[in-house]
């Protein structure tokens, strides 16, 4: 979709961020406020793009501390409203559109007051998952936020699984927290027969990558252990931190943003969880992902 737009090469996410304000400048008055703060691509070329899905008409609102947590991000504030099959989508939009948009703009203003750049999208949909997947893809989002309340984010847990998502994980963490006082704890759960040395070297590589991206080495801690149930272990360690960053699970064509593990962690942890998205497949595969044909 976005890749057919000549201004938006998919392989260059910063360009997407740069393109986004043009994309939505006329979409929502909020962007005027955002633009007054400057084009995100100019003042912070490395702002990680985070999708923040919010069920805007069901009374969901910004949890405390979430604006501060996202201060260094480019937030795609994705308001959505799920409508039943028997209702025409434009009928729902006609009735609830303005109200939902007003609410979203309020949230967007709060986010940009805290320092974030914001794109506002409002979608009326029969399938929330299809919408979220599409928006992740269109904005080339680095991560999706499972929002939960948080105090001032002082420490962040990054669950490291392997080399695969390393680049994206570190881009997100460094982009969001390098300039803050937050400490970053890298955690790796060893598999049954994975040697300790391998886990240690993974944590070292990750640390190095974070330092490369501007995180102070003093702010980084590491934990390595060999739990029976990795998900519970992540949730357990998370309890000592204010926010969790973890990868998507199950690399399959259909992407479940709130797939089981991150969902479980979010439920037990009760704090915000960033789910780092895999690199989006090329256009051909994206076509296979067409919602509604399953």
């Amino acid at each position: 979709m976005t890749d057919t737009d000549p201004t938006t090469p998919t392989d260059a996410p910063t360009d997407t961020a740069a393109d986004a304000p043009t994309d939505t400048a006329a979409d929502a008055p909020t962007d005027t406020a955002t633009e007054a703060d400057g084009d995100p691509s100019i003042d912070r070329p490395d702002r990680p793009t985070v999708l923040y899905p919010i069920r805007v008409l069901e009374g969901e609102s910004l949890p405390t501390g979430i604006a501060e947590l996202l201060a260094n991000a480019h937030v795609v504030l994705a308001g959505y409203h799920v409508i039943p099959e028997q209702t025409a989508a434009d009928q729902a939009r006609e009735q609830f559109g303005e109200r939902a948009m007003a609410k979203l703009e309020e949230f967007a203003a709060a986010l940009s007051d805290a320092g974030a750049t914001v794109d506002v999208r409002l979608v009326f949909t029969h399938e929330a998952q299809a919408t979220i997947n599409r928006l992740i893809y269109e904005h080339d989002c680095l991560a999706v936020l499972v929002p939960n309340g948080v105090d001032v984010p002082e420490s962040v847990l990054l669950a490291v699984r392997g080399d695969v998502g390393l680049d994206r994980n570190t881009r997100l963490v460094a982009g969001l927290f390098a300039t803050t006082d937050a400490t970053i704890t890298l955690y790796h759960a060893l598999d049954g027969d994975e040697p300790d040395a391998e886990g240690e070297s993974l944590l070292e590589t990750t640390t190095a990558a974070l330092v490369d991206r501007g995180v102070s080495p003093e702010a980084i801690e590491t934990i390595l252990d060999r739990p029976d149930a990795p998900i519970e272990a992540i949730a357990g360690h998370a309890a000592d931190h204010d926010a969790v960053v973890m990868g998507e699970t199950d690399p399959s064509v259909t992407t479940f943003v709130f797939g089981m593990p991150s969902e479980q962690v979010a439920e037990r942890f009760l704090g915000p969880v960033f789910v780092v998205q895999r690199e989006r497949p090329g256009e051909g595969q994206a076509g296979d992902d067409e919602p509604g044909e399953e």
Binding site: M1, H81, V123, E127, A286, E290
Partner: protein, 473 residues
Amino acid sequence: MGPDDATKRDDRGDPAPPDQPAPAVEHDRDRGEGELERTIGLVGGLAIGIGTMIGAGIFVFPGLAAESAGPAASLSFAIGAVVALLVALPLSELATAMPRSGGGYFFISRGLGTGPGAVIGIGLWLGLVFASAFYLVGLGSYAGQVFAEAGISLPVDPAVPLGVAFGVALTVLSVFGTENTASLQNAIVIVLLVILTLFLSYGSLDALGVFGTESTPERFLPPGGMVPVLRTAALVFTSYLGFAQVATVAGDITDPSRNLPLAMVGSVLVVGAFYVVTIFVATSAFGSARLGGFGETAMVEVARAFVGLPGALAIVVAGLLATFSSANASILSASRAVYAVSRDDLLPTSASRLNLRYGTPHVALGMAGGPIVVLAATGQVELLAEVASVLHLVMYGLVCVALIQLRRESPEWYTPSFRCPAGFLVAGLGTLASLSLIAFMQPASIGVGAAVMVAAYAWYRYYATDVELKGAF
């Protein structure tokens, strides 16, 4: 979501930023009000079309059709398919140019103006009400057959009371049910097609004398030649009304320039083939006169003749599913028609209000469900079917006229991403075929249809003379 999606993005009204070509927006974006997610793919579109149509042609009409046209009733069904195809192509073009709920009504009101729009919009609502009532009586017949198969004899024919009960239940369900029914609809259609394919393959082999006893071929054309065949074509045309339902969800369909025409034409071809084969099999199994005697559930007897009780039960189940899905789809379509008309101020706007708790258009659903239940209570299967067809055929004729009109005027906003091949010819034939078919209906049906349209026009003159819809897009 193919690469060509970008070409049909709907970004009406707002000028493009000067530094780039018109922005490509795939999902219907309305600045300040949000965008709409497209969630129905080709399979979903086909399921809507097939699911709406297949209930009537196979599970209600074979007995009635064979009685009046004999084995040539398959020809009647084939004629219906041709008429439907002639309309489906222009309709696809219009739907890709104006992907809004409301379907035919929307195209006619924008192409031809408010007057015809009002007649068709209100006519479409009531046409779907008649169609739903017809499907409900069919559903009631199959539900009644369940009692018959169980050996319970009832003092009265249960078809009408059961149909009414289903009508009430479906209306209530559609107001309060928040479960998405799309996947259920797909599953029902697949189960139906499997049962029918097995049954019809067996039946065709039997009819051709591959096994069993070769049946004596009946005279193909009925006495009276083509007139009864055309009359039957008019009667059974209700079996094809569903293809236009695909256009009413045009705004929800992914890659509409490809999926809309494919779903409409594809569903007509699929159900048309099933109808023709069904009549062939049914008339080979019994003589047409005897088939007619079985009434709405004739197919159950055909199945029983081939494979005994299991066959009969399979067809009862299939009939329940098919008529249920047709009735349900028509109630929802009728409520969408009410919405489309009231959005344009041709009906009070309160008619399209949604309740926030369930997100469903409860007023519109009530305006669909109420009259449906009343009409189902009359139990007049043939009259209900024909009035539904008359009202739809007028719309189809005018849809074709709207296509010709819009192509000739070619206003700036008219940029369909699918263009009907040989547009003027197809649309001209479509108009002619649709309106000619009406001439073969019973006078009573034409009378009721005309009365509905006159009443709709009178309402427009009384309530909405100041509404200007032509070209309002």
